[in-house]
């Protein structure tokens, strides 16, 4: 009997405690909400200011505004794209996925820049943020000297046709219900690129430029093969008479022989219309072939940026070295010296401290674990973000290692005593 009574008592008391806790929590939440509501009504302008500052403090949106160089068509400065992680009943922001974390580069008119990296490193997000398909969380994008993120309404709409994108998968990026002529021409009509009476002729012309025939106009996307679908995607982007096209892995879903056709087409169009490309891909041999400059990304930040020839001749960053060593070479007698990266890419919601690559780096030092590396220009136009090429960091590393040694020695002495 006594045993069961005891049990009952204990359970009831525990329930009581938990109820108390629950109410106290609710009280705290209500207090907070009440305070914020009161402060909002007292001075709404100040309230919004403070909230914005808080958000900015999390994102750490600090950059020195760029001076426009008329040679460059696109200038990206400390661009950041954080996706909020929402949780709980009120869907409050708990943290951020740092998909793009402060990348800077610029592209000259009529050239191609390649963007390479593992999947999940933020290549695609970077491309889309530049086009303002996502609202950026920090940084600056100058297109022809104009900040794209500050445009609004009609001005933005007028700017849209100049920046276009070719998506990765030609099988899912074409509407199955529209005939090809309509897919290509829809935006042309909306943006009034040509007068109404020249519309048909214009579409035919762009289709022919991309290797499609006139009678393809009435067909639907399912009647085409992968390569031809990609041609339709390119024609759709080209019809708006753009200056800049983001090619988001345009050939990775295609066969080898068709890849060559599409790459040649892209190159021809560049010569013909003076286009500028941002070529996103994980196929390094294709990137080497098509691009003039290459940026290597790892976990949301740029680790190396250089002209293609320099970068492929002597990659400096340990990550770039590992990436390049993994390219299979079509020669059976060639012996590979592979640097295999251990483990997987860390989560971008909670990236490692210091240098983001230090968890997988084979040259990892003490400094890398705590300090963020600076951008170093080791050759003209060759930028590397690594402590290995920073003299100050190397000196700092020596000091840190000494300290560590001293610490471990004292520890071992203590244990011996």
């Amino acid at each position: 009997m006594s045993n069961t009574d005891f049990k009952k008592e204990s359970t009831s008391s525990s329930i009581g405690i938990s109820i108390k806790k629950f109410f106290s929590k609710i009280g705290l939440i209500l207090k907070k909400a009440f305070k914020s509501v009161v402060s909002f009504f007292k001075n709404p302008v100040k309230y919004i200011k403070i909230a914005n500052e808080k958000r900015r403090a999390v994102i750490n949106d600090v950059y020195t505004p760029l001076v426009h160089n008329p040679e460059n068509i696109l200038e990206v400065n400390k661009l950041k794209m954080y996706f909020p992680i929402k949780a709980g009943f009120f869907k409050r922001t708990v943290g951020y996925v740092k998909a793009v974390d402060g990348i800077s580069f610029n592209i000259k008119k009529g050239t191609t820049m390649g963007l390479v990296g593992e999947s999940g490193c933020g290549k695609t997000t970077a491309g889309r943020t530049i086009l303002r398909l996502y609202e950026r969380s920090g940084g600056q994008v100058l297109f022809d000297g104009e900040d794209i993120n500050k445009l609004k309404g009609k001005k933005l709409r007028a700017k849209r046709p100049e920046l276009q994108i070719v998506f990765q998968d030609p099988y899912s990026s074409l509407s199955p219900r529209l005939p090809v002529g309509e897919i290509i021409g829809e935006a042309v009509r909306e943006h009034k690129i040509v007068p109404k009476d020249q519309y048909d002729e214009y579409i035919t012309k762009t289709m022919e430029a991309c290797g499609l025939q006139e009678y393809h106009k009435d067909r639907y996307p399912h009647e085409f093969s992968g390569g031809q679908r990609q041609r339709i995607c390119i024609a759709r982007a080209l019809a708006l008479d753009p200056k800049f096209i983001v090619c988001d892995e345009p050939v990775s879903a295609l066969d080898v022989s068709i890849q060559a056709q599409i790459i040649n087409l892209l190159k021809d169009l560049q010569e013909k219309f003076g286009l500028t490309y941002l070529f996103i891909s994980h196929d390094l041999s294709v990137v080497e072939h098509i691009s003039d400059t290459v940026g290597v990304m790892y976990l949301g930040s740029m680790v190396e940026f250089a002209p293609t020839k320099i970068l492929f001749k002597n990659p400096k960053h340990p990550y770039t070295e590992a990436l390049f060593s993994a390219i299979p070479v079509p020669d059976p007698d060639y012996k590979m010296k592979r640097i295999i990266l251990e483990g997987n890419i860390p989560s971008p919601a909670n990236p490692p401290s210091g240098c983001k690559f230090h968890t997988r780096c084979r040259m990892c030092m003490e400094v890398c674990k705590s300090c963020v590396p600076n951008v170093m220009e080791i050759e003209p136009d060759h930028f590397v973000v690594c402590h290995l090429f920073d003299k100050e960091a190397l000196e700092k590393n020596k000091e840190m290692e000494k300290e560590l040694k001293a610490k471990t020695e004292t520890k071992s002495n203590l244990t011996e005593e």
Partner: protein, 404 residues
């Protein structure tokens, strides 16, 4: 005058429309014709299916002897057809090659050239009743016995499939079952083929397999679901499933196509490591020439259901002979080689339903000669190991014969 111009315009318009209709007609089959074709197809497939579904198939029908005891598999003039309502698709049309013990054979080709169907006919996984292996022999060497896969009944195939030969599929995302844990999916194979094994032993074996393919947290992964793993990890699990019963032959169907460069390097390393560890052969199907060059000992190049060239990796990469192989090599950009413009093979793969009666590649070939208009070229021997199906080498072959 204006009237005349108008009339000319109308006539031109009508002509245009007529041309459009003509173009559409080429691919068109009337419902009546289609029904006729499907009726005939059913007759053919029913005969084959009835033969396969007999209750007792005598052993003499599916037991054969290997031509060379050193081979695991011998494909001998294999024909796999698909009987569709718009005609017969000859997906594999007379394929002959061997996979020796402990070697890697790479099969290269564009998509739709029949490389996957070749491997599926070896596993008897071709979609039936439309897809049938109608001719030829696939001899599989399981040590003491040799089976002819084409005539083998389902009971025998169940014993071979997953046990003696196994397959790593192309997309790890779609080939793992999302509602079962990783452990259960690997265990299943072991339970099926080792009836006497206890549950505890099976679990131990599974965990050791996961370790073998380079999964560090094997005990944790045992309890995970596929969606919790990344693409590379899922592909490792697929490899672990394929390795479960120490098969004699592993068929890897584009194992790295969906993966990144760095992870591709890891997976290829694992495959070549394991090959030496359990001493099995690999049949590697891919369209990436770089992967083939690194992994394969022998290479088979396929085009439109037929083999156009075969030989050792050195033969194929140092002396590519068939125009298609040469084109394939030229169209792939290589790191470190500066090319102004990539070569692209002109035209498209011919319609698989009505193939031409001359060399299938002739219409896209830039090196064709008069002899190419004749029948499909036979295999010509360039060296002891190197064969090519092209008329351009007919004279050199004769000269070689004279020298001998």
């Amino acid at each position: 005058m204006e009237d005349k111009e108008k009339k000319v315009g109308i006539v031109a318009n009508i002509q245009k429309q007529f041309q459009k209709r003509e173009r559409k007609k080429t691919n068109y089959i009337s419902a009546h014709d289609s029904a006729k074709i499907s009726r005939e197809n059913r007759k053919i497939t029913n005969i084959i299916e009835r033969k396969r579904k007999r209750r007792f198939v005598p052993e003499s029908e599916y037991l054969t002897t290997m031509h060379d005891e050193k081979n695991v598999v011998e494909f001998d003039n294999v024909h796999t057809y698909f009987f569709t309502d718009i005609g017969t698709v000859k997906a594999v049309d007379g394929v002959t090659f061997e996979v020796p013990f402990g070697k890697t054979v790479g099969v290269v080709g564009e998509s739709g050239c029949g490389k996957s169907v070749t491997s599926l006919s070896l596993m008897q996984l071709v979609q039936r009743p439309q897809g049938q292996t109608v001719e030829g022999e696939i001899r599989f060497n399981s040590g003491d016995k040799a089976y002819n896969i084409v005539n083998a009944p389902a009971s025998v195939m169940q014993m071979l499939r997953g046990n003696e030969m196994s397959m790593i599929f192309q997309e790890p995302m779609t080939s793992l079952n999302p509602v079962f844990r990783i452990g259960a999916q690997v265990d299943e194979v072991l339970f099926l083929h080792n009836k006497g094994m206890s549950k505890k032993d099976v679990k131990e074996k599974t965990i050791s397999l996961l370790e073998l393919v380079g999964i560090a947290n094997s005990v944790g992964v045992y309890k995970m679901y596929p969606h919790e793993l990344s693409g590379g990890m899922r592909q490792r699990v697929m490899i672990a499933i394929a390795l479960a019963c120490d098969p004699k032959l592993i068929i890897a169907d584009e194992p790295t196509t969906a993966l990144d460069v760095t992870i591709q390097a890891q997976i290829l390393d694992i495959l070549s490591d394991i090959k030496t560890k359990i001493n099995s052969s690999i049949m590697l199907i891919t369209h990436d020439l770089g992967v083939i060059a690194e992994m394969a000992d022998y290479v088979v190049v396929m085009y439109a259901g037929r083999i156009v060239e075969k030989g050792t990796a050195q033969d194929i990469f140092n002396r590519p002979s068939h125009p298609y192989t040469i084109g394939l090599m030229k169209s792939k950009p290589v790191v470190g080689k500066d090319i102004e413009r990539l070569y692209n093979i002109p035209g498209n793969v011919p319609n698989p339903i009505n193939m031409p009666n001359y060399c299938y590649f002739k219409d896209r070939c830039e090196m064709s000669i008069d002899a190419c208009n004749g029948a499909y070229p036979p295999f010509l021997k360039l060296s002891e190991t190197h064969y090519v199906a092209c008329y351009r080498y007919e004279n050199t072959k004769e000269e070689g014969a004279r020298n001998e």
